[in-house]
Amino acid sequence: MENKLKDAFRKEMRQRMKERLREVEEEVAVPRIRRLSVGRWLTAASVVLLLGMASWYWLATPSVQPAAIAQSMFAPLPNVLAPEVRGTAAESALQNAMQAYQIKRYPQAIASLKQLPDSLQSQEVQLYIATAMLADNNAQEAVQVLQTLPPEAATQWYLCLAYLQTGKQEEAIALAEQLRQSNDTFYRERADALLRALQ
């Protein structure tokens, strides 16, 4: 009875706090725009102007720009493979490979992931290999791996970045356009930001 009571209070408190934090979130998210004074608007306008001038200058040097944008927008995939892995030696090998990936030892991660037995090979493993290649500045090979995978949002996003890094801007834009229409909010937002940066 005592445990049930405690549990009931815990859940109720959780619910109350969640409601309150949602209200706080609305307060935090909305008024930031409304409260801008004239002075701040002017500051914001001058920042936009400066950014505009900076991006014009940046755009005027097209040879490095798309690859630099791709690099700035690249983030490795979070490790959601290894936390579920327990048990056999082969599974430990996957865990070790993903640990290397997490601590950014990409060449080691790529080698270990490639050596995994067939039973553990999957499209997800291939995606991690490709993103590790991208992180390791080997976009050329990353493209080759990514092109063999099904066109899911994550795969398309990394292929798009890999294209940019290998100078295939048209292919990258075509993929980003497709992603901008996809149902995946996360990659849709990223693709949108990328296309804006490339304009």
Partner: protein, 165 residues
Amino acid sequence: MVERLYRQHRPSFLAWARRHYPLNEEALLDVYQDAVIILYQNVVEEKVTELRSTISTYLFGIAKNLILKKLRQQKRTPLGLDEISEVAVAPQFVQRSDQEDQQHQMRQALNRLGDACRQILEFFYYYEYSLEVIAERMAYKNANTVKAQKHRCMKQLEKEIGSRR
């Protein structure tokens, strides 16, 4: 205190999480809210008594686990028809449903109690305050008065639960 904590670490959480995890802002904020709540409850329930790192490291650690859990759930494909029938008759599934039912009954019974009773029980069973502290906070004469009142509240709660079965 919780709201201040929430506001204080929100920008750095969003900057960190956006960089590392493929979730949209709405999902990240949902996780962040849950992480703040878990942190608070861990402190209240004394699961955390001292921190070996900064509070933001601890908070982001909780959030990271929640994000990974969310990502794993997203990766799961919907169950096929065969699997659904197996899950539906699995004993652990039935048991869980009973437990949820009991919890629901308990919460409804608590809602039917008066404010004073609810407060005493919450202070005593959730916050684990001593009778003396409750007497002081709720302006009762002494610990014995609280004890008697708590006893009456428990009887009333049992009655409320019994009457709805």
